[in-house]
Point group: C2
């Protein structure tokens, strides 16, 4: 169960992580586009984007049934900090940390 | 039948068209990447690239059995000029022009 406050914290944290990861992706895409010389460089950029989009689509799954796992992964990968989980109950935070440490 | 000279002209013209079209695509991709603000702009760039890649893959078909059609389309779309067909026999050039005019 997620309280109203927890849902607000979760929603905000989830959104921040998504925006950070997309921002980093965007920077990488800019870099690849601006240094592209040959047609193959453009196809490589396309392959890269296809893969990242799939990865991001799968990762950012906002169902409460999987959200602990999602946050664990985001914490492990550095897209969120522990401080952004403040407001969740201690049990959830412990689980998220455990998953992050796996 | 394509003579050795015709094959050389065809290969060069085909390659030039491909490089021009990819260059224009590359410029468009740079532009989209550099003006991207939101995650959705990146997904839009990906969709655009997916579509253009498919179109280009289908268009640039270097089989002698379809090359007249391919050149007709490239001429119609402005990726090649009539002068680049010099060296092909007149019958082929006429067919290519007719297809371009369709």
């Amino acid at each position: 169960m997620w309280s109203k406050t927890e849902k607000e914290v979760a929603r905000q944290t989830f959104r921040s992580a998504y925006e950070r990861e997309c921002k980093e992706l965007s920077n990488k895409v800019k870099d690849m586009a601006n240094t592209a010389i040959n047609p193959d460089d453009i196809w490589e950029l396309h392959d890269f984007l296809t893969e990242k989009r799939k990865e991001i689509d799968e990762k950012y799954d906002y169902r409460y049934s999987v959200l602990i796992l999602v946050f664990g992964r985001l914490l492990r990968e550095g897209w969120i900090g522990l401080d952004e989980l403040e407001g969740l109950d201690k049990d959830k935070i412990t689980k998220i940390k455990n998953i992050a440490d796996l």
